[in-house]
Symmetry: C2
Amino acid sequence: MLEHSCIKININFSFMHKKIRIIDIAKMAGVSKGTVDRVMHNRGNVSDSARIAIEKVLEKVNYKPNIHVSAISLKSRYKIIVTTPEVSPGAYWESIHNGIRHALEEYENVRVELQVFTYNQYDVYSCRETYEKIAAFEMDALIIGPTFNEETVNLCKKMDEREIPYIFVDSAIEDTSPLAFFSADHYVCGYMMAKLITSIIPDHANIAIFQAVRTGDRSANSTILRKKGFTDYLEKNRCTNLILSIPFSVTAPEDNEMYLSRLFRSQRDIPAIVVLNSRGYFIANYLATNHIKGVKMVCMDLTTANIKALKKGQIDYLIGQEPEYQGFYAMKTLLEYLIFKKTVTKKNYVQLDILTRENIDFYKNFNNIMY
Amino acid sequence: MLEHSCIKININFSFMHKKIRIIDIAKMAGVSKGTVDRVMHNRGNVSDSARIAIEKVLEKVNYKPNIHVSAISLKSRYKIIVTTPEVSPGAYWESIHNGIRHALEEYENVRVELQVFTYNQYDVYSCRETYEKIAAFEMDALIIGPTFNEETVNLCKKMDEREIPYIFVDSAIEDTSPLAFFSADHYVCGYMMAKLITSIIPDHANIAIFQAVRTGDRSANSTILRKKGFTDYLEKNRCTNLILSIPFSVTAPEDNEMYLSRLFRSQRDIPAIVVLNSRGYFIANYLATNHIKGVKMVCMDLTTANIKALKKGQIDYLIGQEPEYQGFYAMKTLLEYLIFKKTVTKKNYVQLDILTRENIDFYKNFNNIMY
DNA sequence: TGTAATTTAGTGCTCGAGCACAGTTGTATA
DNA sequence: TATACAACTGTGCTCGAGCACTAAATTACA
């Protein structure tokens, strides 16, 4: 008979797990719990002797406040502004807003007055005007879902002057000093998309990239980075695929079908399309209605429309960037910074989920995880 | 100038968000909060008239208990047993145990006496003996990480007789009636692995499968399902790849290198290896030390060793099955069932994460998500 | 040295669900 | 009608962090 083990571990939480409370620290330091609280939250009005005694105890013990009790006993009031591109149902930005809302629900005792300002992400003038309005407002903090570089830098400068903390979601902007950002690594994202698309098409096959055209001839920050990652992968791996660009107009959507049909007329063989924004479903639908088959597709974002196309087999790989998680942690981080003066991790890169028609049914967005 | 919008939404939580408390329901129904509590937790000792009045109010309002308050005001005591294959550091089962522990931390006020029994997953006798010990114990509930079908069915029968609820993690066993299970859909998992491996190798290329040999000639439940999914994919898509089996012995590990070298001697061209258990790193290391290059690999589980091999580029795709999530929700579900008599969703399939060397650095296991 | 101003420390209330215990009905039986 | 016993219901305490309010100690200054 073989050797075998049978480990028996007794974890009796009533004995072990003696969790340290604020009052325990107070007793150890020979002060009252009020004083401990003042030291831990930097509220001042504490003598040096008391402060040092408490700090010594804090070094020794590993105090972790009971988050549940914290959440119910808060009484603060804050005014927070959120600005992002416009929100449409089932789409990317809605998920970010959902995440933000969930964070507020977690701290339901905190009175937060939330103001949401949206702008047209394809129109720099809309963004500029919205940002000007925001700059004039009173607030305790700001969450920014940025698109245009220059405008965002300007807004951030004003916030810096007024010493108002701000956090980025979706992507971070250079030359600003945010409290933190929550975003995907867009460069790696593009790099990975290149790897995925080239793995499922023949060498030297053509690849078309679908890209939005913006007012003022400027692309969104994230798209630029993704494209850089994409081309860098091809270069690094000595891929000789021909890259075609498909323009995509938001202001004149009637032109888009034309762009596509022009492409498919001029190029006989387009075995692969990569969409660096969340409009993958648009091309998937075009291909389906025009009975164009055998085109491999790698697209971004788990929007309702994209998921549908993935399940139908029109899209091969869909990349998710956890928008609910981004929104949730942006707001959570902000609140904990404002309330508890908690130290903040500045750079926060979210997961890049790879979804296929096989594993999409098991995908849990952050909503499911939380409740 | 283009049209653009600037939506301003005021979400003032002090006005809106009037959250309904237990005492509000009591007032509406004209009873005391104690009675409402009794109705909601099915504790009995309530007159029909009071019960009906409260149930009517509950239908109208959308009451959600404040989870934070719930967590701090519990006073129950429970004895729970966990049985899984042996745990080794950085490996699959450790993650499941971590998840279980985290759930206990979330309900730190509940006094849980936890007993862990592990068995050798490659030795049916070890399992049998461990299960016999467990069957004799007193407990309020049981969490099972099963391997052997027959033995598990026997244990479950005894639990059914004693009316002790049990939950499966990792995989569910047929002919049992668990309270719930948390596992990946192993069939789909194998199916997806077949899709991934065939997408990165030439048609008709050979594929080797690495499989453990068990005492009593029986494979683990999950591995059987994965293999079924794997072969079904190949059949369905008319793949003509030749499938080779590599045996893998745990009892005589010195034989494994021999098995591998024998394979690579007999077959000149093995461009792909699929590992349906979490030992992918073992083959990756063999290939590396023997300077065998160009072999594509798809493996299971985000163990420390596998992640290392993925980052080095030895493994191409690694499939994760959220072990922390499984453990966490198994214990959480159990506690909420015992304490609150909460209704339980029986079938719970976890996410199948696809990891590559590009997105592995951003992967958050459940530990990170929670804290 | 006495009084006001200021700093520092401590006490006690808040949040809401859970739950033990006391208190109040109603019904049955001597 | 008195008493026992059940069935039911309401009251009040618990958990621990936050924070307001009060009390005490210290300093400032006439």
